[in-house]
């Protein structure tokens, strides 16, 4: 098993965190993981992305030119990475911020109204967790409970109070893909 994931969005949408939580969860479940941020002269509001690899074997190249999974949190991310997604891949996109249809017809698509759900929860910043919840549930790449565990490990000190709302957002995301 080798999951090659690219997560992309505006700076500030928490795409780096989504990737780190996934990688951490994979590690806890005994898999080999790698996380690579895009780094460069990015500006506030610009796009940011990260690559996550989760594998049952040793990870060779950490460079992913053709992801199996694309998580697009905004339109520029979909524009940039859609052509690269591998055949029969999966695109999970943030329906609240992406109006257009996916052009590819050889990939699966899941649309999650992430910002709308997050706003209903009272914090637009957990939109990333809604999408992560949906992807984790759909793919089964790691258990949702493991992501919860990682949240508890990562959100400490003053951030501890954010654990519940993040869990809630993850659960709501997971519920969407249940049907």
């Amino acid at each position: 098993m080798l999951e090659r994931i690219i997560i992309s969005g505006f700076g500030g949408q928490g795409v780096m965190l989504m990737g780190r939580l996934l990688a951490y969860a994979g590690m806890i479940e005994g898999k080999k993981v790698a996380w690579m941020p895009s780094y460069g002269p990015e500006m506030r509001g610009g796009t940011a992305n990260c690559t996550v690899l989760i594998s049952s074997n040793e990870i060779g190249s950490p460079i992913v030119s053709h992801p199996k999974i694309l998580i697009a949190m905004n339109q520029p991310s979909l524009d940039k990475f859609e052509p690269n997604v591998s055949e029969n891949g999966l695109i999970v996109l943030n329906d609240s911020l992406i109006e257009r249809e996916v052009k590819r017809n050889d990939v699966k698509v899941i649309r999650i109204p992430a910002d709308d759900i997050a706003n209903k929860l009272g914090n637009s910043r957990v939109a990333n967790m809604v999408v992560l919840g949906a992807y984790v549930k759909k793919s089964g790449v790691v258990k949702l409970e493991t992501i919860f565990k990682v949240l508890e490990k990562t959100l400490t000190g003053p951030k501890q109070k954010l654990i519940d709302i993040n869990k809630e957002a993850l659960k709501l995301g997971a519920e969407i893909v249940k049907e």
Partner: protein, 352 residues
């Protein structure tokens, strides 16, 4: 056995250095290694008998390392390509004065200010001296975050053992990447006593002198010979490398660091197409693993060196092969990372 944690390469170096007893860090931030400087600031400023200085320049930082090393403590600096160029004078002095220290270079695309994406074009600078005069650094080339940890710890031991500066030669990719790491319990090794040379206050003993010069050329020549002897010893005792699939390979790739990881994926993909690729991955770039390369060239007659440079390590491979077989080269530069498919295409050219 420690717990596995997820860590960024740059931060993992910092933690490994501290666990290896490094308490004195001097540096100046530069992408893509700034997280290391930040990590040392966060940790060392809270520790007793420790110092962190964000120096006014890279030149100042390496000279602070020089001073700290002279007192016998474990000390480190880090930078990325253009910053490492600035440190060269200091590094040459430290090599001449025979002091132990660790210098980290998370290479980026060059030359000049270059780019901030990964590169491997500082190979010549790292392995052939870099500054003026006949000297070498011990150069270690990690290819995973775990290996960054292990080699950083080894680096301090090697520096002390040979009283010579050690360079960790990584790149922006491995510095920025997060992987699972474990900080293993380290075996105690016996290292030579520093009292014989360190400036620790000479009350009750002979004075120690640390000087990077001797105006008598015959004496200076002796210093050179003495240092050279260490390099010969390093070549005998400290060469490290990894090999994969050397038996029955159709072609041998020689690559280090990040590129070697990409080659491992190429090997798997090539296997599916019935192509058998072997890999020699130097872990020490100085001393260079020339014996294994020479031996392999007696059995397999196709070599390809892949680097994020326009052909640097390939020269050492050619020296080791010594004309027995053809050595080909493929490289990308300026911050561009070669892809697995373009490398495989390159390999196929030589297998026709």
């Amino acid at each position: 056995m420690g717990e596995k944690i997820l860590m960024k390469g740059n931060e993992a170096i910092g933690e490994a250095a501290i666990r290896a007893g490094c308490r004195f860090y001097f540096g100046y931030p530069i992408t893509p290694q700034s997280e290391l400087t930040a990590y040392m600031a966060k940790k060392l400023l809270k520790m007793e008998d420790a110092a962190f200085v964000q120096a006014e320049s890279e030149i100042a930082a390496i000279n602070m390392v020089y001073g700290a090393a002279a007192t016998g403590v474990r000390t480190m600096t880090s930078s990325s390509s253009p910053g490492i160029s600035l440190k060269q004078e200091g590094i040459s002095y430290i090599a001449c004065a025979e002091l132990p220290c660790v210098i980290v270079n998370m290479q980026r695309g060059g030359p000049g200010l270059g780019s901030i994406q990964p590169g491997q074009a500082d190979y010549f600078q790292a392995t052939k001296g870099g500054g003026h005069g006949d000297y070498h650094l011990i150069v270690l080339a990690p290819s995973s975050v775990q290996e960054l940890v292990d080699l950083t710890m080894n680096a301090f031991d090697l520096a002390d053992k040979y009283t010579n500066p050690v360079m960790i030669l990584g790149d922006g990719l491995i510095g920025q990447m997060m992987e699972a790491v474990e900080f293993k319990e380290r075996k105690k090794i016996s290292l030579p006593d520093k009292e014989r040379w360190a400036l620790t206050g000479c009350k009750g003993r002979e004075k120690n002198y640390i000087v990077p010069f001797n105006l008598d050329p015959y004496e200076m020549e002796k210093t050179n010979f003495k240092i050279q002897k260490k390099y010969n010893e390093l070549k005998e005792k400290e060469v490290r490398y990894e090999t994969i699939n050397l038996d029955n390979a159709d072609l041998i790739v020689v690559a280090y660091g990040t590129v070697a990881r990409i080659i491992k994926t190429v090997i798997d993909n090539a296997k599916k197409e019935g192509i058998n690729i072997g890999l020699i991955r130097p872990i020490t770039l100085f001393p260079f693993p020339d014996k294994i390369i020479a031996e392999t060239s007696e059995k397999i007659n196709k070599f390809l060196v892949v680097e994020m440079s326009l052909g640097q390590m390939v020269e050492d491979v050619k020296l080791a092969v010594n004309g027995r077989v053809e050595v080909n080269f493929y490289g990308r530069v300026g911050g561009v990372i070669p892809t697995q498919s373009e490398i495989l295409n390159e390999i196929k050219k030589y297998l026709k």
